[in-house]
Symmetry: C2
Subunit: 154 residues, 2 copies
DNA sequence: TGATATTATATTCCATTTCATATATTTAGA
DNA sequence: TCTAAATATATGAAATGGAATATAATATCA
């Protein structure tokens, strides 16, 4: 992505709006950092959506579908279809909750774990490489700030 | 979006991966900050894509299609279709460049300007509200850091 | 100049995603 | 308990998005 200009950091209401617009900067940063890693993921034969689901499930096996959807930032109906495909591939399994038979709990399979483990390693390397332009302090501050924003705008 | 846990800021390789993964935090922040504003945009009868195009064009009228696509983070073929719809709505116009008749320059129309102006105001208010949880210093540092990342991973 | 390569955009085909709604289960209240 | 409301997920139709490719214009170079 070509970022066409670096402009003032504090908005004064006059000059270009988008360049200093927080939502744009977040989207652009997310987009440009993702590009290379997503290419790598696809080369492993799994889609970006599948990677996201697997990475979340590696941390939190057995989330119900709606919780997982919130976590991976998908629409519920969308996740339901993504899970269809992943079940077909043997990456995850659906299970009904005992206490509430409406709930579908998503379990990562052994295959899923085998697929995701090396990708998590690759993601960590990629993060390190992508953030080479930041000091360790800056990176920590960035993450702290992003967490604040996420919590505040939940 | 429900952020399920706040975990350590520095990755130690053991505990949950995703919660401290930069790409996830960027995507999650982008997602949760966008939600309310995107609802507002749609209530004005324009799509999020149209808003993005108009906001960029307000700053940079007359970009060629590919440049605009890079800027708004769309695929070229996708933007071509979005522009079709926007031309039909009278929001923008296509013009061939004199110096190179392959190039299509996208011009924002007066209607487009009228539509986007109040939305830019709304976007500014929304940004201020969303970032209430940050100090002014933190917000400036965040934007500076995001710009660094965008530049480094261009 | 003529042939070839490159660049910019549009189009086609197909997968993905969303919106609205249906189905199933549970909860709350009369 | 019975009924209505609420919740969780799935499904179908329609819109959107992306990869590959077609078309058109320009650039390169023998």
């Amino acid at each position: 992505m070509k970022h066409l200009a670096q402009v003032s950091v504090v908005g004064d209401g006059s000059s270009p709006f988008v360049d200093n617009y927080l939502l744009y900067l977040l989207a652009a940063a997310s987009h440009s950092l993702s590009a290379k890693f997503h290419t790598l993921v696809k080369q492993q034969g799994i889609s970006v959506n599948e990677w996201r689901v697997l990475a979340c499930l590696a941390d939190r096996p057995g989330l119900m579908l709606t919780e997982l959807a919130d976590f991976v930032l998908f629409e519920q109906s969308h996740l339901s279809k993504v899970i269809d495909r992943m079940v077909a591939q043997g990456l995850v399994e659906r299970a009904r909750a005992d206490d509430d038979r409406r709930k579908v709990l998503i379990q990562i399979s052994q295959t899923g774990r085998d697929v995701v483990r090396p990708l998590i390693g690759a993601a960590e390397s990629h993060e390190t490489a992508s953030a080479q332009c930041l000091s360790k302090t800056e990176l920590i501050a960035l993450k702290r700030t992003l967490n604040k924003l996420i919590g505040y705008n939940g």
